[in-house]
């Protein structure tokens, strides 16, 4: 569910940001006023989406990762940044980062990307008050990505680089949404999003987990609003999805020979697709800019005739702009296969 308040705040942030920079403040996605630090060289990411957003814009400023990256993921990132240490995350009660450690690291800015609900706004205010370090809360949803880049660019003094990435996000979203929009909702393929080794966990309507899917196709579980939930195979047989998108390698392998799934249309038609996930997931998590390339991937799966673009070229372009590495053809093949 897109919070209207957050959307308006995000839009106004875009309008205010250029002027605000001179007044030394930026309005973040939650409508909070964040002072622009005099000089930014080190930024603490509050969670994985923030780490990715920051890495794409200014990798050298990233102090560390909320969770250490695995070695095979570092093949698709700048190695010296990818191997930076694990610093935990700040998520309210479940903090894995100690605030004293955060202070000891002396970041110039704390960046959070994600929900702008009251919980996270109050958390941001509290941490900013406790540490006197500016804390910016930005939006990781597709509609907010461009503005998040512009706000971050203003905060860390990189407006030109930020504008390039913001433009890329807008230029990618516009044709994708534009080509899908004329298709009547009832004509769009029914997509089931399968998580977990059994494939029985799915994202309900409006959940951030299925934002990619709901932008392009019909989420079969979309009638009920919510987050993640478990469903039964019988319910999936009733929905009878045309396409199944999964992030679980185990499920993608076993579903082909599982007799209880055999009569699902997507399985019969061999349309079960394993999402690429290196270095970051393409359709779901973390909910950050990493999902932009996943939009092209899913669009080509759902509407091959409307999206003739070469996915390999798009992947190479995206990885070199956002992840600062140019993957080889073999590496791209490996990424697209979605396997470990």
């Amino acid at each position: 569910m897109i919070d209207r308040r957050a959307l308006i705040a995000g839009l106004s942030a875009a309008l205010i940001a250029p002027r605000a920079a001179s007044a030394e403040t930026v309005t973040d996605a939650a409508g909070r006023t964040v002072p622009v630090p005099a000089k930014v060289s080190r930024v603490f990411p509050a969670g994985p989406p923030a780490a990715i957003l920051l890495y794409t814009l200014a990798p050298e400023m990233l102090i560390g990762w909320p969770r250490a990256n695995r070695p095979e993921e570092c093949a698709y990132m700048l190695p010296e940044i990818c191997t930076r240490p694990e610093v935990g995350r700040i998520t309210g009660r479940g903090n894995t980062a100690n605030l004293e450690t955060v202070l000891a690291i002396k970041p110039d800015l704390i960046l959070d990307v994600g929900s702008t609900s009251a919980t996270f706004v109050s958390l941001a205010d509290r941490v900013q008050e406790q540490t006197s370090i500016p804390y910016a809360l930005l939006d990781g949803r597709f509609a907010g990505i461009a503005n998040s880049y512009r706000s971050l660019g203003a905060l860390i003094g990189r407006p030109e680089d930020a504008e390039k990435l913001a433009r890329y996000a807008e230029d990618a979203l516009k044709p994708i949404v534009g080509r899908v929009e004329p298709i009547a909702i009832s004509e769009r393929p029914k997509v089931y999003y399968a998580r977990g080794p059994h494939g029985l966990a799915t994202g309900l309507g409006g959940s951030i987990n299925v934002e990619t899917i709901e932008l392009l196709g019909r989420n079969v579980a979309g009638e009920t609003l919510g987050g993640l939930a478990n469903v039964s195979i019988e319910q999936i047989l009733m929905w009878n999805p045309d396409v199944i998108v999964t992030i679980d390698q185990e499920f993608a392998t076993t579903v082909r020979n599982d007799p209880s799934w055999a009569s699902v249309k997507a399985v019969r038609d061999n349309r079960v697709h394993l999402s690429p996930k290196k270095p970051f997931g393409w359709v779901d998590f973390p909910p950050s800019v990493n999902r932009l390339i996943g939009l092209w991937w899913l669009a080509k799966i759902l509407y091959p005739e409307r999206f003739p673009e070469d996915l390999r070229a798009l992947t190479q372009d995206f990885y070199s702009r956002f992840y600062h590495v140019t993957p080889s053809t073999a590496q791209i093949d490996h990424v697209l296969a979605g396997r470990d």
């Binding site: 579980a221 019988e234 076993t254």
Partner: protein
């Protein structure tokens, strides 16, 4: 000889067996009726419509050895999805009810449930570790099963090595302590888990569900449950002795130590197997023994089989609710608590005279 006579004379000694014999028949009839009603309902309702006619023609076609004249999806629902799930619900319900009944007698306490010795916490830790290590489904279930056995093994070894005049109390206390230690382990693994992918999987698992049950899950569930339940049913006469105070039981010539090990091992086997398949489902092992006791009385010779039948029917009905109420599955652990709590309070208030 002496031992035999002591046990055989026991029901007459301690219980009013004549009045029980009279009241037990309708009690069993009710338990069987619940099971049959549950079975019919469970097989014919669900998110995917299957009519009674479809069901009968598929069953008939299977018996006659030809293909039924129904949509392939209907056949797959009956044989691959709903059928295995219905069987698993019955097995898990039976397992938890039998284990709960045995433990309530063994510990001489009406508030005991099958997880008192840490079987559920151990299985939970095994499962979350399995999910954390991204193991396959089968391996996760195997680790959960082993986790349950290990937890109870640890509890038993510690309990047995502490010298005390009340070994039962020591065992229960050790179970509580070790259970909470394993619970802390679960918390630690959840804390370390990937919040986007593994954590939801762990949460779903811990809430308990039969939604993923397939044909291949039935054998690993049936084996341990059948073995454990058979041992408990075979020992049901002696359980009457075990519910007497320790000294009295010894005086009757029953070797309480070995018997206790056998009961604990059998109950742990069935509990671990059901938790490994279905996740953590509370309340069934606590409520069903009381319900069965109100139907057939406290004599284990009747109580245990009645609890087995009733437990199967009870969980079958609850699982049917869990999969039909909404498009989304309702976790079993939540439903059993929501239904079990008021039910248990009512039971406490109305039939307390039956616990003796």
């Amino acid at each position: 000889m002496y031992l035999r006579a002591g046990i055989d004379s026991l029901p007459r000694m301690s219980l009013d067996s004549i009045s029980l014999a009279r009241s037990a028949v309708p009690g069993f009839a009710i338990a069987v009726a619940v099971l049959i009603a549950g079975l019919l309902l469970a097989l014919t309702v669900g998110r995917y419509p299957v009519s009674l006619g479809d069901l009968l023609s598929v069953l008939y076609a299977k018996a006659a050895g030809h293909r039924a004249d129904v949509a392939p999806a209907v056949e797959s629902v009956i044989w691959q999805v709903r059928g295995p799930r219905v069987l698993a619900a019955m097995l898990v319900g039976t397992a938890l009810a039998v284990a709960g009944t045995a433990f309530q007698g063994l510990f001489r306490n009406p508030l005991v449930s099958p997880d008192i010795l840490g079987a559920s916490s151990g299985a939970a830790l095994g499962a979350v570790v399995g999910i954390y290590l991204s193991l396959s489904v089968f391996a996760i279930q195997a680790v959960a099963f082993l986790g349950g056995l290990v937890a109870v093994g640890v509890v038993y070894v510690i309990g047995a090595s502490v010298r005390s005049r009340d070994p039962i109390l020591v065992l229960v206390l050790t179970g509580v302590v070790v259970g909470s230690l394993f619970g802390a382990g679960v918390g630690l693994v959840k804390y370390l888990a990937d919040p986007y992918n593994q954590l939801p999987a762990m949460t779903f698992w811990l809430l308990g569900s039969l939604s993923a049950t397939g044909v291949s899950d039935l054998l690993p569930l049936f084996g341990p449950v059948a073995a454990g339940a058979a041992v408990l049913v075979a020992l049901r006469w002696r359980m009457n002795v075990m519910s007497l105070p320790e000294e009295e039981a010894r005086a009757l010539g029953v070797a309480t130590g070995p018997l206790r090990i056998a009961i604990v091992a059998a109950a742990t086997l069935v509990t671990s197997a059901s938790v490994a398949t279905a996740g953590i489902i509370g309340w069934v092992g606590l409520v069903v023994p009381h319900l069965a006791r109100s139907l057939v009385g406290p004599d284990f010779a009747r109580l245990l089989p009645a609890a087995a039948i009733l437990g199967g029917g009870y969980l079958l009905l609850i699982d049917t609710l869990a999969r039909t109420m909404a498009q989304v599955e309702i976790p079993l652990g939540i439903l059993t608590a929501v239904i079990g709590t008021p039910f248990f309070i009512w039971l406490l208030a109305s039939v307390q005279k039956n616990w003796s």
